[in-house]
């Protein structure tokens, strides 16, 4: 069997203890559901002296609605629970849809929303065993200096591959983070760094405790579209989250499209709202605006040969998935997925 490297497992029973356990051991890593970290450990992408498990932190589980209508989802809430939650489906359909398409059924019962947000970036030259990477001569993300995706590249372009993140971005979500000195809040939009080696503004010794999703109104429409080879298990080859806000006349007032599985961070397509504003779903004007947004997205997204799958094909699918996901959102449907 492919073995885990040796480490000490610490299982605190409070968040404060957990933060302490991280602070006192440089190089310690957090594990939530383990569905990302454990394979990465088996690949020796990390060899931490200590792993701090959040498994016993019951306080980090559950979904609740605040008085202001926002949803607070505990970081340790399993993805399956997020996907099936009536609250999330009603208020944040794109998030529920994205979570319903993450990996396969077992990984959704183990994997957590916090864990998916914190997912390591992925690359075909990186998510491999130590033997394989050694035979390659390693890559800049781990143990090496070269990038095998972009010849002569200086920045790691491993891909953000978390399905939940683009959905959360369209929803204006933020993270609640426990740190050694207390707590802080970070908007998902400010979470990213354009570096595939570590693409997050959350330090290794900080713990995401909750995800806050602002309230949405009756005019909110959202959907998620996912391109992958199989109907289950696979990471996204492309992930498209969309949001539409309709006014009282059912015409588009606001719109947002965020695309993931491109490079180190998800990409928000610009000029989407301008294109769609004032059109009414179901009309030719809306359809034309959707086409235009697809074209914008195609122009702005350039998938790289970082994750498996033909990069040109992934690019070709950008406008298709943008269009289909926008139309699905407008019809209160989705997710957009081939099965």
């Amino acid at each position: 069997m492919l073995r885990l490297p040796q480490f000490e497992l610490v299982q605190p029973s409070t968040v404060a203890e957990a933060v302490r356990a991280l602070a006192e051991c440089p190089g310690a890593l957090v594990v939530a559901g383990g569905t990302d970290l454990v394979p990465n450990l088996k690949h020796e992408l990390f060899t931490p002296p200590r792993v701090v498990s959040l498994a016993l932190l019951a306080e980090l589980r559950g979904i609740r609605r605040e008085n202001d209508g926002s949803l607070v989802i505990g970081a340790m809430t399993p993805l399956a629970e997020v996907a099936e939650s009536e609250l999330v489906r009603a208020q944040a359909p794109a998030l529920a849809q994205a979570c319903s398409l993450i990996a396969g059924p077992q990984l959704r019962s183990m994997g957590t929303l916090g864990g998916n947000v914190m997912l390591d970036t992925r690359c075909q030259w990186y998510n491999q065993t130590y033997f394989w990477r050694a035979a390659l001569g390693f890559c800049m993300k781990k143990d090496g200096t070269e990038c095998h995706v972009v010849k002569g590249g200086r920045t790691c372009v491993a891909a953000a591959s978390n399905d939940s993140a683009p959905a959360l971005m369209t929803l204006g979500a933020s993270l609640e983070i426990a740190t050694a000195s207390g707590k802080r809040t970070l908007a998902l939009d400010d979470f990213w760094v354009a570096d595939g080696i570590y693409n997050k503004q959350v330090a290794r010794d900080e713990i995401v405790t909750a995800i806050r999703v602002p309230a949405t109104g009756a005019g909110h429409r959202g959907a998620y579209g996912k391109l992958r080879d199989r109907g289950s298990i696979d990471f996204p080859l492309l992930g498209v989250a969309v949001r539409l806000e309709l006014d009282a006349q059912d015409t588009v007032a606001q719109a947002d499209v965020v695309i993931t599985a491109l490079a180190a961070q998800p990409k928000r397509i610009t000029k989407v709202a301008e294109a769609l504003a004032g059109t009414k779903p179901g009309t030719a004007a809306f359809d034309a605006a959707v086409e235009a947004v697809g074209a914008l997205a195609h122009k702005q997204c350039k998938p790289l040969p970082n994750i498996p799958g033909d990069a040109d094909y992934r690019r070709e699918m950008v406008p298709v998935y943008v269009r289909r996901t926008l139309q699905a959102a407008a019809r209160r449907e989705g997710p957009v997925h081939h099965v």
């Binding site: 075909q124 050694a134 033909d310």
Partner: protein
């Protein structure tokens, strides 16, 4: 041919007319029923190799080459040996004798000697107190390599002679080359009404059984080596161990525990079997090696990539006049079954259609990639794909229905193929009828609108061959029966049950022949100390050969039982019938005794009860070099119709339904036959749509994991509709033929043909990725927009 060779289709009390018997004459055979090991598997009680643990057992790991082609300059294992907990370290010099499953091409070493030939080639092995210690020791082994030119492209291997991947091989980097011509192909094609010539490509794919390879060895103080291994060829592993370890074979025992899937991927002797054996001998302790999934991908032996060129001609009535094939086979780094693969790539295409003339020119070359070998449908899935697509191209030119062109070229039954193979029963026309009506072909084909279509393809496959891997005239399958006074009969068979149900098949046959319930038969299999030799689970030989051997043994035993009862009843033996746990007098039905009483009576009369049985093929094959390779005592036939749609925006193909009609002779258990048919069709579609076994530009496997090598999930798999066709073979056990490999073949071409019906593009290069579909659609649109005159 001796009496033991032919058992024919009848039940034991059968009349003179073999083919006439219906399933209702049988009490066990022909009915869906559970397998003998089903409940053990369902409850987790079944014991697979990695489930075995022995006191003091050590764990072994393999150091592998990080280079695709290199000379080993120096290996230093001293630091590894010095690590606390390490008990032994082996390198190639400890087992220098080469082996290979085909005795003519031994080119493998358990651990590399002098050279490594692909990334993942085993170089050293460590046994330690636990896996972590063994892994730590691997990192302490120093190997210095001198890098050599790496071959990743088979066309380069064909041209370039130096450096040679195998230096002792004559003729550069060519592994095997076969040119055979039957009749005058050029003349025939010159007279054809229509000739289609085209190129096809079959990518590589691998077996990916869910159980990784595992082996455990013990070496007793008195010098007996016992190996438990996840193998489908116990007997060949036995022979290979004796050769490489230089031990007399009688001091080696090989046991195959319950096996978690194989599909041809466990039909070579593998490095780990030699390593755990040698390590057990060296350390005096039990040693286990369980390969990681990544290592299983390196061990490979999967389907060969093939570049196929076909040229076929037909008359204006659509009758084939000649077929001409040129095939380049990418063999990877070792021979494995490659000699056979090269022959099979040509020899197995000559049915179910009549080829008046035929020629093939197949060459297998070495490259520095994981070695290819036999995967379900060995050597014939690739040419079948190319030819069945070409047949549709021919039909199109003649405006013939694709099913009709296949009917018109049907070779018939009890005939001989152009390359001299004897064909017996042949239910191919019935297969076509079945899929045609079940799919509502006539109403639906070409009428489903743009984007959805139906496609058909046919195939044939062997039920074993008369080519034993090493030449000998001994039986290919042997079975021994032992009777207990309790009424229990134990079957001892060398046959390897790899999940296909061969142990169950033996139990059904014994129960049928002796008229006892299946529950009173126990099967002990694939243990070289206990069981007579069977050659193994490959070439779809087990039902046919082990089945016949079992009938042979059971009938000999039955004869004794009947004689003892007849003597007691003072009647003619013909009056005694064994049925439903009883011996009854057919002429005085009031007179009966239990089978337990009959067994005891026979033991009293004859001595300790038991019997042996065996099977050997009759003399078969064409009278030319290689003419016996692919010569089978019986061929199975299959037809598929695939219903698929294409999303023209994403290029994604969705398969909705597959109708699989398969002539398996007689279905000894239709539930198991259907499972084989559906599983085969699944595996064919999987390699058409999802799976690709290949290396990247560095020669590294692209993604040696079950995440990156994409096995279809339940969401990616269509509904299968198995239609069993029974043609009752005159020599098969009760008329049975194979069912486990043939039904894979048509999946791929039928899908390609369905896509053509759906959107008018001919997919000739596997796999059918969405990107390729979109490219073909673009090409088609571009061609359509060019005015006729300009083109």
């Amino acid at each position: 041919m001796s009496a033991r060779d032919l058992h024919g289709p009848g039940a034991p009390w059968g009349g003179a007319e073999p083919g006439a018997r219906s399933n209702s004459d049988f009490k066990v055979v022909g009915q869906p029923r559970p397998k003998v090991d089903g409940i053990a598997k369902a409850t987790g009680a079944a014991v697979y190799t990695d489930d075995l643990t022995f006191p003091g057992m050590l764990h072994a790991k393999t150091l592998r080459s990080p280079h695709a082609h290199a000379r080993i300059v120096r290996i230093d294992t001293s630091k590894a040996r010095a690590l606390k907990g390490v008990h032994a370290v082996l390198t190639g010099d400890s087992m220098p004798i080469k082996y290979g499953v085909i005795p003519w091409t031994p080119d493998e070493n358990a651990l590399a000697v002098d050279k490594v030939r692909f990334i993942g080639d085993p170089v050293a092995a460590v046994a330690a107190i636990d896996e972590d210690t063994a892994n730590a020791a691997l990192k302490l082994i120093e190997v210095e390599y001198e890098l050599l030119h790496t071959y990743l492209d088979p066309f380069e291997s064909l041209q370039r002679k130096e450096p040679q991947i195998h230096e002792d091989k004559k003729g550069g980097n060519i592994s095997k080359s076969v040119q055979l011509e039957f009749g005058k192909v050029e003349e025939a094609l010159a007279g054809a009404e229509v000739v289609v010539e085209d190129d096809y490509f079959f990518h590589g794919s691998t077996h990916a059984p869910i159980e990784p390879h595992c082996a455990v060895a013990t070496y007793s103080a008195d010098g007996v080596l016992t190996l438990w291994s996840a193998t489908q060829i116990t007997h060949y592993v036995h022979r290979a161990l004796a050769r490489v370890l230089e031990l007399p074979a009688h001091r080696i025992r090989v046991i195959q525990p319950c096996l978690g899937g194989a599909f041809g991927g466990k039909s070579d002797p593998f490095s780990l079997e030699f390593c755990v054996s040698k390590l057990a001998m060296v350390t005096g302790r039990p040693v286990k090696m369980l390969w990681t999934r990544e290592e299983v991908f390196y061990a490979h032996r999967g389907r060969h990539p093939m570049h196929l060129h076909y040229r076929s001609g037909v008359t204006k009535d659509g009758k084939l006049v000649g077929v001409d094939a040129k095939i380049l086979i990418d063999g990877g780094s070792y021979s494995s079954f490659g000699l056979v693969t090269t022959y099979y790539s040509g020899q197995l295409l000559t049915g179910p259609y009549h080829f008046p003339t035929y020629r093939f020119d197949s060459t297998r070359v070495f490259t520095n990639k994981p070695p290819c070998g036999p995967k379900r449908g060995h050597g014939s899935v690739q040419p079948r794909f190319a030819f069945e697509v070409q047949l549709d191209q021919l039909a199109e030119k003649l405006a013939l229905d694709p099913i009709e062109i296949r009917r018109r070229n049907f070779q018939g039954d009890f005939t001989r193929t152009v390359n001299g193979q004897r064909v017996t029963s042949n239910g191919f026309l019935q297969c076509l009828d079945e899929v045609e009506s079940a799919s509502r072909w006539k109403e639906r084909r070409g009428k489903l609108g743009f984007g959805r279509g139906l496609g058909v393809a046919g195939s044939m496959y062997i039920s074993g061959t008369n080519y034993p891997v090493y030449p000998n005239d001994m039986p290919q399958a042997g079975v021994q029966l032992k009777v207990d006074r309790s009424g229990l009969v134990t079957v001892f068979t060398g046959g390897n049950d790899i999940g296909q149900g061969s142990n169950s098949m033996c139990a059904y046959i014994v129960a049928e022949e002796l008229g006892i319930p299946v529950e009173r038969v126990r099967v002990v299999a694939a243990d070289t100390d206990l069981c007579p030799v069977d050659l193994g689970a490959y070439s779809s030989r087990v039902t046919f050969m082990v089945g016949n051997a079992t009938i042979d043994a059971a009938r000999k035993l039955r004869e004794k039982l009947v004689a003892a009862v007849a003597e007691k009843w003072e009647c003619a033996p013909a009056r005694v019938r064994l049925i439903e746990g009883l011996a009854i007098d057919l002429e005085d039905t009031a007179r009966s005794m239990t089978s337990v009483e009959a067994f005891q009576l026979a033991e009293t009369k004859f001595d300790t009860l038991g019997s042996t049985g065996s099977y050997n093929t009759p003399k078969l094959g064409g009278d030319y070099r290689g003419g016996t390779i692919g010569a089978s005592p019986a061929y199975s036939f299959t037809a598929h119709v695939v219903d698929a749609s294409v999303d023209v925006e994403t290029g994604r193909i969705t398969v909705h339904d597959v109708w699989v009609a398969h002539d398996c002779g007689r279905a000894l258990n239709p539930m198991i036959v259907a499972g084989q048919m559906e599983g085969s069709a699944y595996m064919g579609l999987a390699e058409a749509l999802f799976e690709e076994h290949d290396v990247n530009r560095f020669g590294l496997h692209r993604g040696p994991s079950l995440l990156d090598y994409r096995l279809p999930t339940s969401l990616d798999t269509p509904d299968f509709h198995a239609r069993i066709v029974e043609s009752i073979d005159p020599e098969g056990p009760y008329g049975a033929k194979e069912a486990g490999e043939g039904p894979l073949h048509p999946s791929l071409p039928a899908l390609s043909n369905a896509v053509y019906d759906a959107v008018g593009i001919r997919l000739k290069h596997l796999p059918f990725t969405p990107a390729k579909v979109l490219a073909a659609l673009r090409e088609k649109r571009a061609a359509a927009s060019v005015p006729q005159g300009v083109r």
